[in-house]
Symmetry: C2
Subunit: 352 residues, 2 copies
């Protein structure tokens, strides 16, 4: 299924969405993207797994990275894409094939940008951090990601969202003693004990923390719970999975410590974490981009891969079409106007 | 694998246990039991599914039923049976192939009992009530279960345990609004709401209720909990499965009402229930048996199929080898002395 980069950005978005690419199954879409980019004469194209990297090599004094992920969360009966008013509706429209379409349009149709550009289209963003395609490339080919500044095309209402919150997952375990439920007094119910864990989470007042002039809102939630062996057994184990989204002025270690304090007295095991990224808008390249886009920057709440660029020493912001509140929703959508506006602003910034 | 009913009752118990018969897989054991009973000339043998029924037909003025289930909970590395001190240790020794061995010994070796006897060995006791083999026979061949009195060979420390508690399972559901956990304030966490359900269960003070002179201890427990879609989603659903074991003076409807009152304000759906059985020890046949056994009767806490006999108008008690507290445990066991004592007492009562 070839992809035509001459399509207008909205039609290109729909075409990208209609090749399903749930995390782990990005292959067909990555193949199509690679083939399309290899047909563009002014680009050098590399590939690592299902990550496709294309770059101009014009010897410009500055290099910028434009990155987006190819994968989506599972499809929920919301493909193929349909049009509704001025929106494209369907899985991936918002998070984030709209942004990918903008990047591919620039890659194909801006042959002589004033800044060299590296386009990174990658895999496994919607799953655990260890499988992230951008993280893998940062380990295997860090030079592919070199740059003075990076733009991650996460949905941000076509405005600039600086930095991002960090994210941490932990398992909170309660342990009891199994017994036949007909003689429950001979056991100790681990699920009942988890009630206090849930009460603390329900009572928890999340903080809003100002970092470099932007205010980051945190959140601490149970995202899973499991317990029980059979309908007639007092369970001896219950596991609550919690997710802490923390402001970028906390390190991963400080975030883990905070979760342990909130759940003091319980067995807490961190299973996955990723640091946040400070907004870094004082960096000259970032400031120049913000000025070019002409929008007041806002904080980014969700963890995004700007943190990976941040860790590589590349300042990065989120900038892309679509409302992040609609990401992962069954009715996710992107305004066609956002697609055109993002493409136009980036073209102007690249001097095309 | 033929079963030899001439073995002493302890060896017969071990032989029965070493043919695994987890609920749903009773076939091979039921086949062996049926074949062994068909070799006994003084018995008429019938079969329904994996339930085997054998009876004397001597025209005695009184008929008693001796019943036991063939199935066990899943094996936990505790087969084959081993001997430890005076015990047989392994899956099924206590619950309840020890009792089944006693019944099979009586069936084969008491050709002329003073009361006609119906031996009922059945399937699917350890799973949901709807699949219970005794319940199935009560629907398909109720005449097979006719009798003046029934003895269910559930483990009862070789003493008489009258009646049984009822049991009810219900699902308690909390509903919220899904959201990306990075913007959790746009959703509502259903797992957090379940905390109050668990708190009420933890705070619940179970009652002890006197019924016909015996005191029944109740229990209300979460036996399962599940919630959560993905590690980055505020969950919109959490389901707590609760099990209420209730004294036999409450009807199923009253028990359900009680659970609804305890969990007032929550969505409660009863998924499975079975009534208790009053001890009924004032019935002449029951009183005669208790006198013959010579033990002070106690209440039965666990739900047992005496309730099914009770519903058919047949007074019934639990009487069998083994400690009910060890049922379903990985180290379940039965004292060999219990096996011999139960066989001896029942032989005497049957006039052999």
């Amino acid at each position: 299924m070839p992809i035509d980069l001459d399509l207008p950005v909205d039609d290109l978005t729909a075409a990208l969405c209609d090749v399903p690419s749930v995390s782990g199954a990005e292959g067909p879409l990555a193949d199509a993207v690679e083939a399309a980019l290899r047909r563009v004469p002014h680009l050098r194209v590399d590939r690592d797994g299902d990550c496709v990297v294309a770059r101009t090599e014009l010897g410009r004094p500055e290099r910028v990275v434009v990155a987006g992920h190819l994968d989506t969360v599972p499809v929920a009966g919301n493909l193929p894409v349909r049009r509704e008013g001025g929106d494209l509706v369907g899985r991936g429209t918002c998070d984030m094939k709209g942004g990918v379409a903008v990047a591919l349009r620039l890659a194909a149709h801006v042959p002589g940008p004033v800044r060299d550009v590296t386009y990174v289209l990658y895999d496994h963003e919607e799953v655990e951090a260890a499988r992230n395609g951008l993280g893998r490339v940062a380990r295997t080919h860090p030079e592919w990601l070199d740059g003075d500044f990076a733009i991650l095309m996460e949905p941000s209402l076509a405005g600039v969202e600086g930095g991002c919150n960090g994210t941490l997952r932990a398992e909170v375990t309660t342990r009891g003693t199994a017994a036949h439920s007909a003689r429950s007094w001979t056991g100790h119910n681990a699920i009942h004990d988890a009630g206090e864990v849930l009460r603390r989470l329900a009572d928890y007042a999340p903080q809003s923390r100002e970092v470099d002039g932007l205010v980051y809102r945190e959140g601490l939630n149970a995202v899973g719970i499991r317990g029980g062996i059979a309908g007639n057994v007092v369970p001896d184990l219950c596991v609550v999975t919690v997710n802490f989204r923390f402001a970028p002025d906390r390190s991963e270690e400080q975030a883990a410590q905070h979760v342990r304090e909130v759940l003091d007295g319980y067995e807490v095991a961190v299973v996955d974490s990723a640091p946040g990224a400070r907004p870094g808008l004082d960096h000259p390249a970032a400031a120049a981009f913000v000025a070019a886009v002409g929008e007041e920057p806002r904080p980014k709440y969700g963890w995004t891969d700007v943190a990976r660029f941040s860790a590589l020493g590349v300042p990065a912001v989120n900038y892309g079409p679509g409302d992040p509140l609609l990401a992962h929703k069954d009715d996710e959508r992107v305004p066609v106007e956002h697609l055109h506006r993002c493409e136009r602003r980036l073209r102007e910034w690249l001097g095309a």
